[in-house]
Structures are given as structure tokens and as C-alpha cells.
């Protein structure tokens, strides 16, 4: 997915001479073509995320459309005050692209597990959050996001699901014989998809995480008595938090169950499946949980 989106950014930079690309020394075999083709509008600021966002803010002052790139686990936390003060407070729209979500970097340890990032960003005014859960959603996505009416945090999972999806902000895979539905997004969609394909379980797969299209989502959720929210992100400020608030505000009554990690993990695995099992968000655990309920 990351190659596709960077290719699109490269294409847009050919057309729009006002796009400036910044990296914090990330993107090997990825960003070089931008550096070669647009040396005046490409800058590697080094491994310095606070300065990355500060410099971006300065470039926006000069009316550039700024794209910043690094891996997701470095793009939010270290420079959060810069995002708050130098971007959100000033209503300066930026496109932040972070690669890796959830347990994509399973073996690299908890510093590289991205399970508490977008929840902070959604709390900043003037920010939208995207997490494409299928490759079709990427079609023309860069062009759309570079309109930059708001700041954008685009977190890109290391999956390439092409068996579902479209360019809609969410994909409803429905089976109304069920009384419950699973809401999910990101890399874990790959883990959960057999529940729909084999068992016919209803799924609502998100590509855009914030803000949510309340009217149409509530229209779907009202058909279900129980909602399972499966995410590789803490529930306290993740999708579970967003959906619960939405339901409370709409006075819609449904039981909502969070299936999410509750803490950081010091144990690692060679791939994300091990971390899913460790946190009981793997396919078998979810199946068992649904059956018990």
C-alpha cells in the first residue's frame, strides 16, 4: 500500500508545483524518486520528528501543501505538541503519512507497535484520520487528500487486501440473519475476513476513522443488538470510544464489546498473528467470544 500511495504523491507533485515532501529519514527504496525528480521540494530533515512538524508548519506559512512521511510509531507521539500547537492550533492543513499500524512490526517490540496513535490525533481539532483497509480505497486517494481542507493523518497498514472493498469510507459486508456485527479496520481485517467469507458474519470495515459518517453508520448499526469492535489499538480512544459516543448521542441502544489490546506487550512474535493471539484478538478468540455471547 505504501508504494501505491507514494507513487500517487509523486504523480501529484508533477502536476502541483506547490507540494513539498518531507521525510524524517524514512522510506528507503520508496521516496528516492521524489528526491530525484523534485529536489527543490523534497527534504530529509533527519531523525528529528519535532523539527519535521515545525519545519512543515513553516512551509505551510509559505502556502506549500506539505506531506510528511515517517513510520507511524514516530509520527504522532514524539511530536504531539508540535501537531497541537504548530498545526492544529494554527489550522494549517498538513498530510501526515505513517506506515505501519497495530502489530505490523510485531517482532520489533512495543516501541514499534502502533496501538495508541490515531486516538490521540482524533482528539486534535481540524484533523481527519484514514486507515485504508483494502487496496481499492487507495485509488486516487492522494489527489483527494491533497485537497487539504483539513489536516490528514493517513496510517498505512502492511496488508494488501483486494478481495473486498471499494472507494467508500467504510465497507459493509452484511448478513442480516446475524444479530451481531463486527466493526474493524487496518491489518487485522485480514485475520477477521474468514468470519464473513466462511461463517457469513456481518462486518463493517472502516477506511476512514475520523470523523465518522454518523448518519449512515447508525443506519447500519440499528439492525444489530450486539456490536463487537475489533481493533489493534487501545479502546479508550480508539474506534470503540468513537462508536460508544456516537451511540450514546443518538440514544441508540446496543451492547458494545471491545476486542482490543489492554496494555503494551513486552513479548514479541515473528508476525502479527502471534500478537493477535497474545492479546486475544485473533480469529479463534473472536469466534469463541461471539459464540459465548
Amino acid at each position: 500500500m505504501r508504494n501505491e500511495i507514494i507513487d500517487q504523491i509523486h504523480k501529484e507533485m508533477k502536476i502541483d508545483k506547490n507540494i513539498f515532501f518531507l521525510t524524517a529519514d524514512m522510506g528507503i527504496n520508496l521516496v528516492e524518486k521524489i528526491e530525484i525528480d523534485f529536489p527543490d521540494r523534497f527534504l530529509n530533515v533527519g531523525i528529528a520528528e519535532q523539527n519535521l512538524i515545525g519545519v512543515a508548519s513553516g512551509l505551510i506559512n509559505l502556502n506549500f501543501k506539505v506531506v510528511v512521511y515517517t513510520i507511524s510509531n514516530f509520527l504522532v507521539h514524539r511530536c504531539f505538541e508540535q501537531l497541537r500547537n504548530d498545526i492544529s492550533l494554527h489550522k494549517k492543513p498538513i498530510l501526515m503519512i505513517g506506515t505501519s499500524c497495530g502489530y505490523d512490526n510485531a517482532s520489533l517490540g512495543p516501541t514499534h507497535h502502533v496501538i495508541d496513535d490515531w486516538g490521540y490525533v482524533k482528539n486534535l481539532p481540524n484533523f481527519e484520520v484514514y486507515c485504508p483497509s483494502n487496496i481499492h480505497y487507495l485509488d486516487n486517494l492522494a489527489k483527494k487528500l491533497l485537497n487539504l481542507k483539513e489536516s490528514i493523518y493517513l496510517r498505512i497498514p502492511k496488508i494488501n487486501i483486494d478481495t473486498i472493498g471499494s472507494q467508500k469510507d467504510y465497507e459493509y459486508l452484511s448478513n442480516e440473519k446475524y444479530e451481531n456485527i463486527i466493526l474493524t479496520y487496518g491489518s487485522i481485517v485480514e485475520e477477521i475476513l474468514p468470519l464473513f467469507k466462511i461463517n457469513g458474519q456481518s462486518l463493517l470495515v472502516f477506511n476512514k476513522l475520523h470523523p465518522l459518517d454518523k448518519t449512515s453508520i447508525l443506519k447500519i448499526l440499528k439492525n444489530y443488538k450486539k456490536i463487537f469492535i475489533v481493533e489493534e489499538h487501545f479502546s479508550s480512544n480508539g474506534l470503540y470510544d468513537s462508536i460508544c459516543k456516537m451511540l450514546i448521542n443518538s440514544k441508540l441502544c446496543a451492547e458494545v464489546v471491545s476486542v482490543a489490546p489492554k496494555d503494551y506487550n513486552l513479548k514479541i512474535g515473528t508476525n502479527n498473528k502471534f500478537l493477535f493471539e497474545l492479546n486475544r484478538i485473533d480469529l479463534t478468540s473472536i469466534k469463541n467470544l461471539i459464540e459465548k455471547n
Binding site: N51, G54, L59, L62, D86
Partner: protein
């Protein structure tokens, strides 16, 4: 030859009046930056700043707590009118105790330290990319205590690496951090060597001497960013506030206001 005459006593009186009337703090920090910021406004094209021209020089006050001093200097140079200035620190005003971009001709809100300098570097890069013929500058005033922030050094490292000669950092080196002597908290010395090792040209000047600061900038090197280390006195001009850390926080009572005004006659 451009006149460098600035009635700094008038500006200091204004600061003392505003701080007394509003019950605000940050007297010391405001009084130390007067000559630095005045020099900056002498160096740039003020009309372009007033007009928000795309090729204006960009001025940043990274030590955002110097707001009262900043607004008072801006008022002296015609960037803020008297009516607006007199709302400082009052209900419904945009003139907050830290520098705010809600005020016209202020590029960026600051207050959390170590931010303005990075944004200023971004404008320096942007200005170079846009290739404006008027060669505008990006200028930033930093506090000495602010240099304890790690983000400052991220910025300095990149600026030196890029050899940006339009990026000018003024250090308001008043030697007092938040609650005590800066170098007692974390020693900055040898400060000049630090900037030199980051690829800057450095000038060490009397930060209350406009001509010295002005000459430091106009005689700068062609292929390096410049750091002007401005040796200043926190609370300059008000005897009881000079070099006293408490005047970072304390508002003026009537008795001390009268004394301050007496000092500034």
C-alpha cells in the same frame, strides 16, 4: 544610512504600564528583548509585513512569554494600534500573555518553548524554494532557557547542514531561565562554540545596543546561518527587576509600579 534611533525608554514605559494595569507577569523577559526585536523591525521591510506580502520577511518570537515586550515593540513600529495594545491580557482580547497569531502581523503563536525556531526554519527553507527576488529573511528570537529544549538543537543541526544564510537566530541571553540562573540549571557554555560546531556564523553582542545587533546581521557571512548571541539583562531598565528571576512571574503592585516608572524617567 538608515536611522537606528528607537525610543526604547518609551517602549519600556509602555510595558510597565501594561503589566501594571493588567496584573500580568513576564516583566523581566519582556524588558530584555526590546532592542533585539526593534533591530529586527529595522532590518525588514515593515510595509511587506503590514501587507502580508508573500515575500515578506518572517519574524518569530520563539520565547512566546515575551508577549508584552513583543506587542509593545510592534506598537512602536506601527504594527499594532494603541487601542488594541491596551487590551493586553484583558477579557475578550487576542493579546494573550504568550505571543498569538490571532494578532495581525504575528506569524505564529508561541508559548511552549522550542517551537518557533523550527517553524522559522521552515519559512527559511520555503523562502529559498520560492526564490523571491527580494531575498526576505527568517528571523527568530529565542530565550536562553529555551535552548534547553531538544527540538531547538534538531533545528540548529538542520539549519547548519543546509547552510541557510537567510535564517537568523537571536539569543536573548539574559542568563536567567525560569526560576534561576540559566547556567546553574543547565550550563549553556561555551555557547558560541556550540553554534559554531553546528555550522553557524556567530556574533556576540551587547543585546541592548541596536547598532551592534544591526551590524551583526548586515555584515553576516554569505553561506551560513547566523546566530547573534545578544547579552542582555532580564528586567533591563527597572532596577528592582534586573537579574531577579522572580520577575518572570510577579505582577507589579502600585508601589513598585511607581518605582519602575521613576527608574524609566
Amino acid at each position: 544610512m538608515k536611522s537606528l534611533d528607537v525610543d526604547t525608554k518609551k517602549i519600556r514605559n509602555r510595558i510597565v504600564d501594561l503589566i501594571y494595569k493588567s496584573g500580568a507577569s513576564h516583566l523581566g523577559s519582556s524588558l530584555s528583548l526590546i532592542e533585539i526585536l526593534s533591530t529586527i523591525y529595522l532590518l525588514v521591510d515593515l510595509n511587506k509585513i503590514k501587507d502580508h506580502a508573500p515575500d515578506r520577511s518572517r519574524v518569530f518570537i520563539s520565547k512566546g512569554h515575551g508577549a508584552c515586550g513583543t506587542y509593545s515593540v510592534m506598537n512602536y513600529f506601527g504594527l499594532i494600534d494603541d487601542i488594541e495594545l491596551n487590551t493586553y491580557h484583558k477579557n475578550n482580547s487576542y493579546l494573550s500573555g504568550h505571543v498569538s497569531h490571532a494578532v495581525s502581523c504575528v506569524e505564529h503563536s508561541t508559548g511552549a518553548l522550542g517551537h518557533g525556531i523550527s517553524v522559522c526554519l521552515g519559512t527559511a527553507i520555503g523562502i529559498k524554494t520560492k526564490k523571491f527576488q527580494s531575498n526576505p529573511l527568517s528571523l527568530v528570537v529565542c530565550g536562553d532557557g529555551e535552548l534547553q529544549e531538544g527540538s531547538v538543537w534538531e533545528t540548529l543541526m538542520l539549519a547548519g547542514h543546509l547552510k541557510l544564510n537567510n535564517f537568523i537566530v537571536f539569543i536573548d541571553y539574559n542568563k536567567i531561565s525560569s526560576i534561576k540562573s540559566t547556567n546553574e540549571v543547565v550550563n549553556l557554555e561555551p555557547l558560541e562554540d556550540k553554534f559554531l560546531s553546528f555550522g553557524f556564523e556567530t556574533k556576540n553582542v551587547d543585546g541592548h545596543n541596536i547598532k551592534e545587533i544591526y551590524d551583526a546581521v548586515t555584515n553576516r557571512a554569505e553561506h551560513k546561518p547566523l546566530a547573534v548571541i545578544c547579552n542582555t539583562i532580564k528586567g533591563k531598565g527597572v532596577s528592582f527587576a534586573e537579574n531577579e528571576p522572580v520577575w518572570h512571574y510577579r505582577p507589579l503592585n502600585k508601589e513598585l509600579y511607581i518605582k519602575a516608572k521613576d527608574d524609566l524617567k
